[in-house]
Amino acid sequence: MGSDNAFATVALPHLDAAFNLARWLTGSRAEAEDVVQEAMVRALTYFPSFRGGSSRAWILQIVRNTAYGALKARYGERVVGPAAVGEAAAVEDIPDPTDDPETALIRSDDLARIDALIEDLPVDLRETLVLRELEELSYREIAQVTSVPIGTVMSRLWRARRTLTRAAAAEEKR
């Protein structure tokens, strides 16, 4: 019980972050709740091997892996595999529809629309953006959570931001 309480002290403060990430990855409240519960039980199992450092990144890494497991079970490998990355590259090739696409994003008062634009991002860009902007993790922490080098975090973050501003501008044009 003593060590369980130590785990609770480390893990429970990150419950919002865990749920936010799971919800953005799965797109569903119910599924995110299942993912968080499963991830927290897993984290409890791994806790004896937790060596300190950022407990938030550690928890989020387990949540992220659990969520990917759920996504794979739902859609098969391709959703989280290279196909998603290819999709991102395709979006990048769309030329700027206006001289100043980012203003479309700034103008948008429709919060649901901003959410929808983020949800449309490929999962690898979406998670990087959510971890950076909503969880305010450092590049190093994002690299840990998503198991990629820091350079990849940086390029994904840029692609996510550019894709988002361009998609907003393209939508406005329609």
Binding site: A8, A11, Q37, E102, L105, I114
Partner: protein, 248 residues
Amino acid sequence: MSAGDCGKLLLLQAELDGELDAAESAALAEHRANCPVCRRNESTITAARQALRRATYHRADAELFRAVAGRIGALRPPPARRISVPWRGLTTFGAGAALAAAILLTVLPVGRPDIVTALVDDHVRALQPGHLLDVVSTNQHTVKPWFDGRLDFAPPVKDLAAEGFPLVGGRLDYLHGRSIAVLVYSHGKHVIELFVWPASGRARVPARAERDGYNVVHWEANAMSFSAVSDVEPSGLEEFVRDWRQAR
């Protein structure tokens, strides 16, 4: 490198994300000041950041908190055994209603914690760093409009600074399947939270309850349910409720 990159793109982004140290950032400054590509990329990054600031942050609700806490063995013992219902406080209910309320509380299914536990758990959770307030303001005219558009009802907001219970802000919470308003007041070093939601007509909250040192005072008025939750002593909480109900 694409046409949109002057070679410093990711460095510029790192600077805007606060990832560069002073020396790196100074080394970039001169280039950045004279590079039109950087200016344009900066506006893209800034626009995306501003948009993300308005994106939804999905918070875990109290039921998920309880479920997780239960599964990792951090949950308090089952509530039914620890409920204390002061009979004196329930005179307004009438003995029959009080008995019914007490029985109802004891036989509530384990799957769904009773509402007193839910309220106290929400309150305790809100006291954790970073959880207390969605809107910070001592001005009731700021707090009240903040709730507009976020709830399907308009909670009454009052400031009791003159009575010694200044309003410090408000937040949204989620209780037994619906979004509710929480008004947060301070009293010395204590925090008093007032949970407000539309009365359902079949209130199952006892007028007074205590759980783990936290007191709950509940009432209904104008088709709204109100539950004040705090660790202040019962008489202090009663005083808060009396003042709140009398305030305009």
